[in-house]
Amino acid sequence: MVRERSGVVLLFVVFAVLLGLLALTVEAARHDLGQWNWFVAVLIAAVKALLIALYFMHVRQSTPLTKMVVVAGVVWLAIMFTLSLADYWTRGWMS
């Protein structure tokens, strides 16, 4: 029973942190951080996504096989971005 209640409390704590991060990212966007604006926005989004995946989607309690599939999904995404952007962002070097 105690464990069950702590599970619900944890969901509310994660929710509060997510709302805090939302406020933080909106506030950060109002300041001129140069190139860092984009980085900070994506970093905060990544932290929010990680919290949602670990606690709301209970990846933290999943089997190693499920965790591996989740990580593989992100890795394939990273491969697609890396190879595509390596192409587009270096085309200027040729001319």
């Binding site: 619900v8 969901l11 604006n37 926005a41 995946a53 971005f81």
Partner: protein, 225 residues
């Protein structure tokens, strides 16, 4: 013929256990794994759109920032909060289903359904606002852009409507599934060992939330200054 001879009591498997699984734990692990495999295809699906966004934005960041400035930051922020709250309610719904609390489950599923509908309602108002102001360059509609870099600004709005539109479509599908779950839950189903549909729908709903978590800063915040 004596029927009593060979009849031994067969251990009764729980009704919630499909015959191909050893036990409920294994069945639940398979549910999660299958859903995550589907979500991996969704990661790549939305990933392609995010990649297109990244490439076009890197070609003219100023135009994207100027176009992003036209989006309503207030309603975008409200919608993000609404969607995060709906993630909380469906996580709690899953909890209520597993601990067999029927009235809680019904209430939380209904709350998620309402919050998802509110999100789509606000999105609809935003779309209408863009349409009225000639910032909906779809299907031959006019694009009345006053600022510089017209081409890249139009690309931003194309990507805005494509990405949020497909996201909204995912929300609509989610709402349809939630409605079915709500009807089942109100009939006393989906409780205890039968809560897998709530669990798996939750995974889908949270994923759609994560997509929005990335859409929000990239579409609304890059022009906030």
């Amino acid at each position: 013929m004596n029927a009593d001879v060979d009849v031994k009591p067969v251990p009764q498997a729980p009704l919630s256990l499909a015959h191909q699984f050893d036990d409920l734990v294994q069945q639940r692990e398979a549910d999660d794994l299958g859903m995550w495999l589907f979500l991996c295809t969704e990661i790549m699906f939305f990933g392609g759109l995010f990649l297109a966004y990244t490439i076009y934005r890197s070609r003219d960041e100023a135009a994207f920032a100027a176009a992003s400035h036209e989006l309503d930051l207030f309603w975008g922020t409200v919608n993000t909060a609404v969607l995060l709250t709906s993630s909380l309610t469906i996580a709690l719904a899953h909890h209520a289903a597993e601990s067999s609390r029927r009235s809680q489950l019904v209430a939380l599923l209904a709350a998620t359904l309402v919050l998802g509908s509110v999100f789509l309602g606000i999105k609809g108002l935003e779309y209408h606002h863009k349409y009225v102001h000639g910032l909906m360059p779809l299907l031959g509609l006019p694009f009345e852009w006053q600022g510089p870099s017209r081409g890249h600004a139009e690309l931003f709005f194309d990507l805005y409507f494509l990405m949020t539109g497909i996201h909204a479509l995912h929300m609509l599908i989610g709402l349809g599934i939630l409605l079915v779950l709500l009807i089942q839950a109100s009939r006393g189903r989906l409780l205890g060992d039968f809560s897998a549909p709530v669990r798996v729908t939750g995974l889908y709903w949270h994923f759609v939330d994560i997509v929005w978590v990335f859409l929000f800063p990239l579409l609304y915040l890059i022009g906030a200054r």
